[in-house]
Symmetry: C2
Subunit: 145 residues, 2 copies
């Protein structure tokens, strides 16, 4: 069996947060972001830098995983828009952000990495946070089908 490449000190090689779903290739987590309940991350388990460093099969697998998470996010969180991004400038270990966006979120319509435009009403955030168990279940269900 081929050895999986790991990078000492890489926080995504040594994932210490709970996962919603995981297999030998990838992990799905709910990101702890107080302003963005429902923010998910799909993390490739091997220390790979870019999508185009993956084999074709692995790339299609990761694309499909991001798609399944997007579907679950839409179903449960009912966002106004979904944002999907693979950046990795700070942690160059392949991972995707899947972010449900709402008109009242902290940055809308700017990207979540821009300067915040507002503070979202705490009751709205709490209502979204209450959906997270359903989101975790919806993700797991899609990956187990």
């Amino acid at each position: 069996m081929r050895e999986v490449r790991r990078e000492p000190g890489c926080e995504l090689c040594d994932l210490t947060v709970p996962v919603v779903w995981q297999d030998e290739k990838l992990s799905v987590i709910l990101v702890e972001d107080a302003a963005y309940p429902g923010f998910c991350r799909v993390i490739w388990r091997e220390h790979v830098r870019e999508m185009s460093d993956l084999s074709r099969d692995d790339r299609l697998l990761l694309n499909e995983a991001v798609h399944l998470v997007e579907e679950a996010v839409r179903e449960v969180m009912a966002p106004l828009k979904v944002n999907v991004a693979s950046l990795g400038n700070v942690v160059p270990h392949l991972h995707w952000h899947v972010i449900p966006r709402f008109a009242d979120d902290a940055h809308f319509p700017a990207p979540v990495w821009a300067q915040a435009a507002r503070q979202t009403d705490e009751a709205a955030l709490a209502a979204r946070r209450a959906l997270l168990p359903d989101l975790a279940a919806a993700i797991a269900k899609r990956f187990n089908e």
Copy 2:
């Protein structure tokens, strides 16, 4: 033949900029961004909001197109990192950003949508701009293969 959905007033339905490559499904353009030579956009031609609104075949096609652009960007621009994102909060017409990132670019390592960290040396930008004809050719070559 099914009618392609268009949205009046949508700037991505009525693309007025030159395209590097185009077929009946999608367009590839080089984005005019003085700070980011090599910034490409892959635009789905039909007015569709999310990746998960596409049929499976169309989704795979668009994923593949983004991949081909990423490959061309890496080959020609030799960036430190590639950033890939589908946001669409302002223009909710499905499109992907493919952005070559460099240690000396305006925002590195932050996303390009964050506050700028510096101004890149003009000679470095000019050297990157000089690669754009090669980038356009590399993109067209991949899509024509």
